[in-house]
Amino acid sequence: MQNPYQKLTKKAFWSPSVAQRSPFDLEGIWTPKFRIQETTRIVTFGSCFAQHIGKALKQRDYSWLVTEEPPPGLKEAKRRSYGYETFSCRTGNIYTPTMLEQWVDWSLGYRDPEPIAWIEGEGVRDPYRPTIEPDPFESVEEMINSRDQAINSFRVAIEQADIFVFTLGLTESWHDVGGWEYPMCPGTVGGAFDPDQHHFRNLPFRELHKALARATKKMRTINPRLKILLTVSPVPLTASASGDHVLVATMRSKSVLRAVAGELVSTKKFIDYFPSYELINAPSNRGMFFEPNLRNVNRKGVDYVMDHFFASIPSPKLKPGMRRSDSQGPSGIPSDAQCDEELLSAFSGGH
């Protein structure tokens, strides 16, 4: 009598599909739930790593939808420093499912953002997008107008997309007493920390799961055919406010986010998961896809992930002279992802 394992294919077994293979021969890591073609309109949001997906989609002539266009004439390097073409619109990093729900609520009119502004010199920073521009806004009015533009563009992204890619980044989060969530702790890249106003929360599985489920459900009220593709950022935490060792905090955070994604994928037909986290962190890779700081994913790692992504969907048209692994530019050049959370390393006090 056969047991169930005898019927499984090779990919179900660690030794032949991971341990005995070169990491570069890994196969069948992802079977997409839904069809992705060159004409499929894809929007990307979330943690830093989501930036690589949008960029790779664009470079390979897939339909990466950008709903907040940069002004004409702005050179590419400045586009990124002003938060254009980083995600599909200028939300900045959305690290948590709860913050995603906050953006969804704003864009669908469930809630209006609190008119909070962080005064910096004679300018103003947006607490919800503190590094969206290199310099502070000139006035509160300008900041609000800019945020409103991003909120409107976020709604357009939901309305017009076929696939909404969301990269889950953190469980650690900062909130104010009004219930609003910030991407960065006040007092780090802007604003001032007030212990009576601001508090830390390491969000639990249930809350994250519910927030992500609600966010996706709300999005589908204005676009019922919208599909969701989740990923988990493979980038470790820069710092943890949880009280745990940052290594333990990282594992906790990523594990919870991975579990949230897994739970939703197994219960919702319209939600899929792409294993970028696993591809970078697999033991067989021995950490080779990290920069020397053991945190940032290097070019080869980004290419490795994106090659797996594109290998699993219908072949794209590569631009003349372009190899599959050319998607992120020349190797050896440090990643240029815009990542607010990295700024926390400045507070390590020389440790």
């Binding site: 940069p70 002004p71 004409p72 702005l74 002003y82 107008n145 800019s146």
Partner: protein
């Protein structure tokens, strides 16, 4: 008479051709001298005192040919220098809100990439000479169906305001009467455009059929009238 030097690239062809046809009387109290060369060659002009001096022989020949006498541009001889075309683009702004900072950055990047910016920098601090910049004509691709006059006015306002505020440059661009149905030049104004004459065999040859970037004599006439009116007002 006010003396005006028109310094530009291939787009000067339409202007100069119209000027030669119409005669100098058409310009009223303006006396025009053209200094033109094709492509981006004018970027190699070097500042020496009050002069812009060609850094290479072919450019010197083109300037001597187009001006009819001089290969050096002695700026002290002119009341006004018009930087014509030279890769400066009037760009349509999407219907998004932009912060002041990013507007400035975009206009700065757009201007910096043009030969007009290169020459404007070399012309700075020459006393008594006004510098006026005129962008390339909008392409004559009549694919748009909706009127874009408002978008044109917005683009003109943004660029002209910024150039004056940041660089002290006056700005002048094609009149609305030259626009097509969208953010473009009317296609009839690109029919029959010719290469800039610089003393070469292919002088005056028609641009390839379907060229939407270079304009014809009719456009040149309209721009001359525009220059006459606007430059008379710039003191």
């Amino acid at each position: 008479m006010r003396k005006v030097a028109i310094v530009g690239n291939s787009h000067v062809a339409a202007l100069k051709s119209a000027y030669m046809t119409l005669g100098s009387d058409r310009m009223g109290k303006l006396s025009l001298t053209f200094f033109a060369s094709r492509g981006k060659k004018l970027a190699s002009l070097e500042r020496r005192g009050n002069n812009l001096v060609p850094g290479e022989r072919k450019l010197a020949e083109a300037l001597r040919f187009t001006s009819g006498r001089d290969e050096n541009i002695d700026c002290s001889k002119y009341d006004c220098i018009v930087l014509y075309g030279l890769g400066l683009k009037l760009r349509r702004w999407p219907g998004c809100y932009y912060s002041t900072s990013v507007v400035q950055a975009a206009l700065s990047d757009g201007f910096a990439s043009s030969t007009a910016a290169n020459l404007a920098g070399k012309l700075s601090n020459i006393g008594g000479v006004r510098v006026v910049v005129v962008p390339d004509p909008l392409p004559a691709d009549d694919i748009a169906s909706e009127s874009a006059v408002q978008a044109f006015r917005e683009a003109r306002f943004r660029l002209s305001t910024w150039l004056k505020k940041i660089h002290g440059l006056d700005f002048l661009c094609q009149p609305e009467a030259t626009l097509g149905p969208g953010f473009n030049t009317a296609s009839r104004l690109a029919v029959g455009s010719q290469r800039l004459a610089i003393g070469r065999e292919n002088d005056g040859e028609p641009h390839p059929q379907g060229d939407i970037y270079h304009m014809n004599d009719e456009f040149g006439r309209i721009m001359l009238d525009q220059l006459r009116v606007e430059l008379s007002q710039i003191t």
